[in-house]
């Protein structure tokens, strides 16, 4: 395949990765932004979403589309509920102390991972995509006879991957609408800006925290449910999303949802492109190098505000 079509293919693969990464990193960013909690267990909520999606499709059976729709709705809801319960049982009791929450979420990470290993097993298991039509893509070339359209062999994307991009876009827009336009968003932003004053105006901060922790985990689980027909569900699959989400959140600016989206697209796309042309390891190395440079030259991230 020529370089042009090859690049387009890599970009589309990168866009799929960026879409899933955007959802996962938005969850992490939301939790840090509102609660100031560094959730080390975030990758495990992602993994739990994928495993539950497998389980749900297995239990529902029937046509893959029906089973997948049920998984898409139920898996994030279940993971969100588990996360909210973890907030209530663990984080609330240590008063969201920054150091202790890191240790507590490391504990959560191992508990979720080992419980999954004990119940789900060590195997990687696929979920059937609800639809998977291969769509050939055209390429354009300028020749002596003007613009020529042709269909290079291998330049294609599946309808499911397009759906992943569309679903992530839709979820991102919905989250923006909730944060910017709704009463709930106003409460979340008030809590984020000044927890004590929010309480002095009737905001039940502890309930808000449980909701946000659940919502953050549900976003990760949604990303995982979307990706599990492309990858496979495995009990160790939470590591990469956690690392990439942290990279994205640091580059975008801690707690900045806008920065998170921009950085997720940047990292996801570059990860996809570099992985296709070179190797996934090089992609991760360059992303971590970028984080190091951001921390040195712009510690607040691309869209974060400087500490007072």
């Amino acid at each position: 395949m020529d370089f042009g079509p090859h690049l387009l293919l890599a970009m589309l693969e990168g866009l799929v990765q960026a879409s899933v990464l955007t959802l996962t990193a938005l969850g992490l960013s939301l939790v840090f932004g509102v609660m100031r909690v560094v959730n080390v267990a975030h990758g495990e909520f992602f993994m739990l979403g994928a495993v539950l999606a497998w389980w749900i499709t297995f239990l529902v059976g029937g046509p893959p589309a029906l089973a997948f729709i049920v998984a898409l709705l139920v898996a994030p809801l279940l993971v969100g509920t588990i996360a909210a319960a973890a907030d209530w049982l663990v984080l609330r009791r240590i008063d969201y102390d920054p150091e202790r929450t890191i240790v507590a979420t490391i504990g959560l990470l191992y508990i979720i991972q080992q419980l999954t290993l004990m119940s789900y097993g060590p195997d990687a298991r696929p979920v059937a995509p609800p639809f998977n039509t291969r769509l050939a893509l055209p390429w354009f070339e300028f020749g002596s006879g003007g613009v020529q359209i042709y269909w290079p062999w291998g330049l294609s994307i599946t309808s499911y991957k397009l759906f992943v991009i569309f679903a992530a876009l839709l979820t991102g827009l919905a989250l923006w609408a909730v944060m910017a336009r709704s009463r709930l968003g106003l409460i979340l932003r008030a809590t984020q800006q000044d927890r004590e004053t929010a309480q002095a105006f009737g905001v039940p901060v502890e309930r808000v925290y449980a909701l946000v922790f659940g919502l953050g985990a549900a976003l990760a689980a949604l990303g995982a449910t979307l990706v599990v027909p492309i990858q496979q569900a495995h009990y160790l699959m939470g590591g990469d999303p956690l690392l990439l989400s942290f990279i994205v959140v640091i580059i975008g600016g801690l707690g900045s949802l806008r920065g998170t989206v921009v950085a997720a697209i940047l990292i996801g796309m570059s990860d996809g492109i570099i992985s296709v042309f070179f190797s996934p390891t090089l992609a991760k190395m360059l992303a971590t190098l970028l984080v190091a440079m951001v921390l040195v030259f712009r510690p607040q991230g691309l869209f974060g505000s400087k500490p007072a």
Partner: protein
């Protein structure tokens, strides 16, 4: 009526308020005077449930409120204007007011009344709070608390850093609220401002209310100011 009975409160193991008792009646302005660190702001936060009572009790119209979660206290009609205003700076004026309205599910009519009190805010509704001048920020902090239509209003140094015209405006608003029957607890460093509006003045020292006098009694014995406030 707001009543504090033998209240102990503080931060962790540090006790700030000791066996403190006071009350504020509807339609009166109770001013708290005391040196820095005497416990005035902690007292306000204790009433709001932001600093938990370690002993003693707080009552509002016969209902004990010190055991309630902090977020339920404003819903009972206690408005709070914290020291330094503590606005939601990244939100607009309208959104700050909305937070106040949501606390007790008040509607557009209450917002109109509040904006009529501070018409300058009406022109700034879509402006971010941190872009307002100091005086406008204080108006917004006051307006936000009034959106609760409070029966009790706690003001912690509302005139701090304001120019005289703005101080007059805030003072006029406080006096108008007294006429409406609101019980007002005012922490203030400017003694002359206190004497102009207060019905009673309570001196706070080492976390205790040591003396309560009327403004005329204070005029008669200004050595009290020297003893308890250091002026």
């Amino acid at each position: 009526m707001l009543e504090l009975r033998n209240l102990d409160a503080g931060y962790g193991k540090v006790q700030v308020l000791r066996d403190l008792s006071l009350h504020a009646r509807p339609g009166e302005i109770l001013c708290l005077l005391g040196r820095n660190g005497a416990g005035k702001s902690t007292l306000m936060k204790s009433i709001m449930g932001l600093v938990r009572a370690q002993a003693g009790s707080i009552w509002l119209d016969g209902q004990r409120i010190d055991q309630l979660p902090a977020w339920q206290v404003p819903r009972l009609g206690i408005g709070y204007i914290p020291q330094g205003r503590r606005l939601f700076n990244e939100m607009t004026v309208a959104e700050n007011l909305q937070i106040g309205l949501m606390a007790r599910r008040k509607g557009a009519d209450v917002r109109e009344n509040v904006l009529n009190m501070f018409p300058r805010l009406r022109d700034r509704l879509n402006q971010r709070a941190d872009t307002l001048s100091g005086g406008e920020q204080q108006m917004l902090a006051t307006a936000r608390a009034l959106c609760l239509e409070p029966g009790v209003l706690l003001l912690d140094e509302p005139t701090e850093g304001l120019q005289p015209s703005m101080i007059s405006l805030i003072r006029a608003a406080v006096v108008a609220l007294r006429k409406q029957g609101v019980a007002i607890v005012l922490v203030e460093q400017r003694v002359e401002a206190v004497l102009q509006v207060a019905d009673r003045v309570t001196f706070v020292e080492n976390g205790q209310c040591v003396l309560t006098v009327t403004p005329s009694e204070l005029h008669a014995d200004e050595s009290l100011l020297h003893r308890y406030v250091g002026v």
